[in-house]
């Protein structure tokens, strides 16, 4: 069942058009990857889903059209966005960052339980819970960003280049945890990644984006076998 359906998405930054009629679907309970080179429009796509820029086209979440709603409303419907650059609240503490993730929730007891669960996934965050978030390392801030998204108890998590700037070992750790999260929490993931190999290992379905259009789509396995993808993005 489709959780997120995007059809004919156009988007522009001022005068520069970046997306030209993009269409894709994210299945409920699955992991979907958007692949492509730098500047292909992947980050823009995630931003468009969250209405962070003006778009034309249709975006349906859980059956409802969301493209004209403000970002705050879209988030309240259950989409958590882990932006590129992480979007950490640098001057607040780690724990304050996490609590903000749960800002829109009314179930206080459950929030407290979720906080503990998140610390379970990322014990390093628990150690640094009272530290100013700006002093955390890049990897820790990435964990914080993912955790903050989790605190929303989202139906869908958007992850923008989670591997960016992280040491390979950390990336492996992070992706392992992402798989766990999907299985245990039942969260669907929409992943944008330049590192195609990693993304295809994690995802069920994938779309290849080039200059703002989907040029290839299929299961992760299919894309991994595809000749063009192998040469251009997987390096063999």
């Amino acid at each position: 069942m489709a959780l997120l359906e995007v059809s004919g998405l156009h988007a522009a930054y001022g005068e520069v058009r970046v997306l030209h009629g993009l269409s894709f679907v994210t299945e409920k309970g699955g992991i979907t990857a958007l692949l492509g080179a730098n500047g292909a429009g992947k980050t823009t796509t995630l931003r468009a889903v969250c209405a962070m820029l003006r778009t034309e086209g249709e975006i349906r979440f859980d059956g409802e059209r969301i493209e004209r709603r403000p970002t705050e409303d879209i988030v309240r419907r259950g989409i958590a966005h882990v932006p590129d650059g992480r979007g950490t609240f640098l001057h607040l503490t780690t724990e304050e960052n996490l609590r903000l993730g749960a800002y829109t929730r009314k179930d206080r007891a459950a929030v407290a339980a979720d906080l503990e669960r998140v610390y379970g996934y990322f014990p390093r965050l628990k150690e640094r819970r009272r530290q100013q978030a700006g002093t955390l390392s890049g990897g820790e801030q990435q964990m914080l960003a993912v955790s903050r998204a989790l605190m929303l108890r989202p139906k869908l998590m958007l992850l923008d280049e989670p591997s960016f700037g992280l040491a390979p070992l950390l990336v492996k750790e992070l992706f392992q945890i992402l798989r766990e999260i999907k299985e245990r929490e039942g969260v669907s993931l929409l992943l944008v990644e330049q590192n195609a190999a990693l993304a295809l290992e994690l995802a069920d379905h994938a779309y290849l984006i080039e200059t703002g259009r989907v040029v290839l789509s299929g299961s992760a396995a299919e894309l991994r076998r595809d000749e063009g993808v192998r040469r251009a993005y997987l390096g063999y």
Partner: protein, 290 residues
Amino acid sequence: MEQALHQILDGLATGGIYASLALALVMIYQATHLVNFAQGEMAMFSTYIAWTLINAGMGYWPAFALTVAIAFVFGVLIERIIVRPVENAPVLAVVVVFIALLVILNSLAGWIYTYTIKTFPSPFPKDPVLGIHYMSPHEMGAIAVTLVVLLLVFLFFRFTPLGLAMRAAAQNPVSSRLVGIRVGWMLALGWGLAAAIGSVAGMMIAPVVYLDPNMMSGILLYAFAAALLGGIDNPGGAVLGGFIVGVLENLLGAFVIGNELKLAVALVLIIAVLLIKPSGFFGRVHVTRV
């Protein structure tokens, strides 16, 4: 020696007023990263509203409470109607809008209420209390009120989810939206709170300096200096700064410079301090990844 003590205590009393207004300035700064130069005039206007209510027969504390509420709404409205349309304009353009607001409020007050000085009542008894002769009951009361306000604001920002959301919205509006915070309303709330705090300051100072449209201009300047001295993003620092500035002003005026130059000298001293500690005594040293 007794003279000095008297000046210090006097300074603490006026310092309390500077502290309240400095608190309002820091609040708006924390919520919007802007300094509201019209803060003083908004406080003055609120005090006139209180005066109108009291003159119409309302008791002091009910009028006080109603004025604070009206000031809050006033602040929210000003943010939504006047500040919101220019939120994407260059910072200096917004500063000019604040200057314009200052000038409009001052002029309107003069027009509606005239420039004749009016008296404003104090809720505290006139005769010395508890045998203390160094400070009038009003001065003590004003300090107490300032401290209570500070405490409430501190608790609000530190321990309530709304306070946290307001801090977040001020620091990083984009990320705030991504956690579902309605950033626009957070800003409006910040303005409302600041206006409310300012109205309290106005009502505490009016009995001392008498009510007239220009009563807040010098005070605003000291409040601004106090806020910077304490660190513009630190409410506690702003309050401490307010008390320091109050005492400094009094001591300088009485013993060193004479009343004419005390404003200039106080400012110069504050700047000298800032040259040593550029983000104020308690300002947060910002950690930025380059």
